[in-house]
Symmetry: C2
Subunit: 102 residues, 2 copies
DNA sequence: ATTAGTTAGTTACTTTATGTAAGCAAGTGT
DNA sequence: ACACTTGCTTACATAAAGTAACTAACTAAT
């Protein structure tokens, strides 16, 4: 029984284990989308969504692109690093299908 | 682009996406262990650990066993449902090794 | 018999995170 | 000028988490 926990794992967990972060990534795996669409589908408040997207951008997981249309369109999408979380999300999906009851 | 999110996935996420929950499960995958050992290795406060262990027991993920020795020994371990999270944890580990820098 | 030490918590209080709802900037449409 | 859009931010209220002291139940030592 090891006394210590891998710091990389710990960092990954402190990211994914944050409220809403997983749901936001899961939602973005469906394709690039704008702020208010994530807000309504995920059910997170704009205040927190804004915070999370900034964190995820900082971590290189999410990319933000501005299209100066009218009204302005800003699209959030996953980077390579973000997309690499797909198999992980699939695992959670699989687990939930087997073990979670509605 | 789907408008809705699978409720089972959502429930799994609200569990695993809770602060400390992932770390506690990860730690318990190393084997059954007692309260204060989890507390120190994971670095979670006793107050929250107590709360989480109750939730996880309720969800059927963690099992609590009392050994009336001196001083009393109480061991927490994973149930079958809890152990089934191993591959998921391995995925997070794998991802963190590839993408997280210390 | 009193004092100290053990584990597994709980309790009261403080700090941090999140929710809620209103407001703002920058633009178009009427 | 005024309403309407998106993508936020701000101020304030509530919920969650951290901290440290305390308790229960027992042993071991003084």
């Amino acid at each position: 029984m090891d006394k210590t926990i891998c710091p990389k794992f710990e960092k990954a967990m402190s990211l994914l284990g944050q409220r809403w972060t997983g749901m936001i990534i899961y939602q973005l795996l469906k394709g690039p989308q704008r702020f208010c669409h994530i807000e309504t589908t995920v059910g997170v408040s704009g205040r927190v969504l804004s915070e999370r997207l900034k964190d995820l951008e900082q971590e290189g997981i999410v990319k933000r692109e501005v299209y100066p249309e009218t009204p302005v369109r800003i699209e959030y999408s996953l980077t390579e690093k973000g997309l690499s979380l797909q198999s992980l999300m699939k695992e959670i999906e699989k687990w939930s299908e087997t073990w979670v009851e509605e």
